[in-house]
Symmetry: C2
DNA sequence: TGTAATGTTTACCAATCGGTCAAATTATCC
DNA sequence: GGATAATTTGACCGATTGGTAAACATTACA
């Protein structure tokens, strides 16, 4: 008699690990496009290639699936910002932060859209994480940037809005991908557009922040 | 015997105009948060304060409501870009474009989120408009920017990515409003954040584009 | 190899979905 | 004020929703 849902067992079976992975992959496909309410369990089950009750054996509710996804994405999403180094020099730190964020938009567009969907809906599932861990991290890095400005290494500017502008410009290439492709046309819709974007954005921010006085 | 749905009649009644306005207002509330599939007619009806069949008397389907909304938003959304003047001087044109877009994010956040939702879902209802009218308009303005660069009035840069970066940075304050508020904290979440953003963004772009050589 | 735990599926449920219909109500105009 | 057109609603429909129950199949392990 199968007592528990997968989560309750102490050790996780090989099958559990595999299937949960398959499910989250499918859920990411669906949630990232249609948002929480617009997605259906049946749809996720179909993408995952298993029956709906089987899905619900691993994740008891639709919310549980979404929760598991969000938790995973939230963590990895902030890695580039965590890597932002106070001891590095401003130019290379900002350049590599932009590059890293742009790579994430290119390589993990579904994760970006999942997050964007959550924000658009008012962050009903993650508002605590925004006010807590996220704010703390941003506060910390904002202080670094402010110190750079004070030391004359970069122009004086609001560090929070600087971070917002890097977030938005880079994520734009994942979240608004359709629009970007439509506007650029077929000829510039290849992967090369990320290189173009990187070049443009690095120049914009480096010059915009008055770095590279040489 | 009421012959037709409202749309079929030649002249639109006073009641029709009023009610359609009320409905679209409610639909904007709902669609902008939950996207097309995540929104329900019942929910819109409740917000609009009328019965579901009554809604469907004015708009035959959920799609018709969404369509009417999208059409309206698409038009007004591009006004700032249309106002972008080739004969103006680069600095003031870019400054006022940023300001206008930022004002729209502040004054019409629901419209911005409706559009963002549509993009996230792959623009299933507006892809034609993106490839057609939108692309044409952007192409035209990109040519203006390119001419400025060629004339040495601004630094050489990819005009398309420049436009993308202005779109994304400004719309961010509408679409990711929850996140912005959470990170800034209560003390900076007032309307003043738009002034701060405007100051920061204008400086970023003006310096980033090498304008203001004086 | 047997058996207990784990994994899967079929059939199903109540609630909600988008939408219809006909009857009732209200506005318009002579 | 009455006829006619426009508006509104309650009752309802089949399809889909998130989720459950229990039988069935498979795996792991002694």
């Amino acid at each position: 008699m199968a007592i528990p849902r997968a989560a309750k067992t102490q050790r996780r079976t090989r099958i559990q690990e595999e299937k949960e992975e398959v499910i989250l992959e499918a859920a990411l496909d669906v949630f990232s496009v249609h948002g929480f309410r617009g997605s259906t369990i049946d749809q996720i089950a179909e993408v995952a290639g298993m029956s709906k009750p089987n899905l619900l054996y691993y994740f008891r509710t639709k919310e549980a699936m979404h929760r598991a996804l969000i938790d995973r994405v939230l963590f990895t999403w902030l890695e580039p910002l965590r890597a932002f180094d106070a001891n590095g020099n401003p130019e290379s730190e900002i350049r590599s932060y932009i590059r890293r964020k742009l790579e994430m938009a290119r390589d993990f567009p579904r994760e970006s859209r999942l997050f964007a969907n959550e924000m658009l809906q008012g962050a009903p599932h993650v508002e605590d994480e925004l006010r807590g861990p996220l704010k703390s991290l941003v506060d910390e890095k904002a202080e670094v940037i402010r110190a750079w400005a004070k030391a004359g290494k970069i122009a004086k500017c609001d560090p929070y809005h600087l971070i917002f502008s890097i977030w938005s410009t880079t994520q734009h290439y994942a979240d608004f991908d359709v629009q970007v492709r439509a506007v650029l046309g077929q000829e510039h819709s290849g992967e090369g557009r990320f290189e173009d974007a990187a070049r443009y954005l690095e120049k914009l921010f480096v010059d915009g922040l008055g770095i590279r006085q040489s």
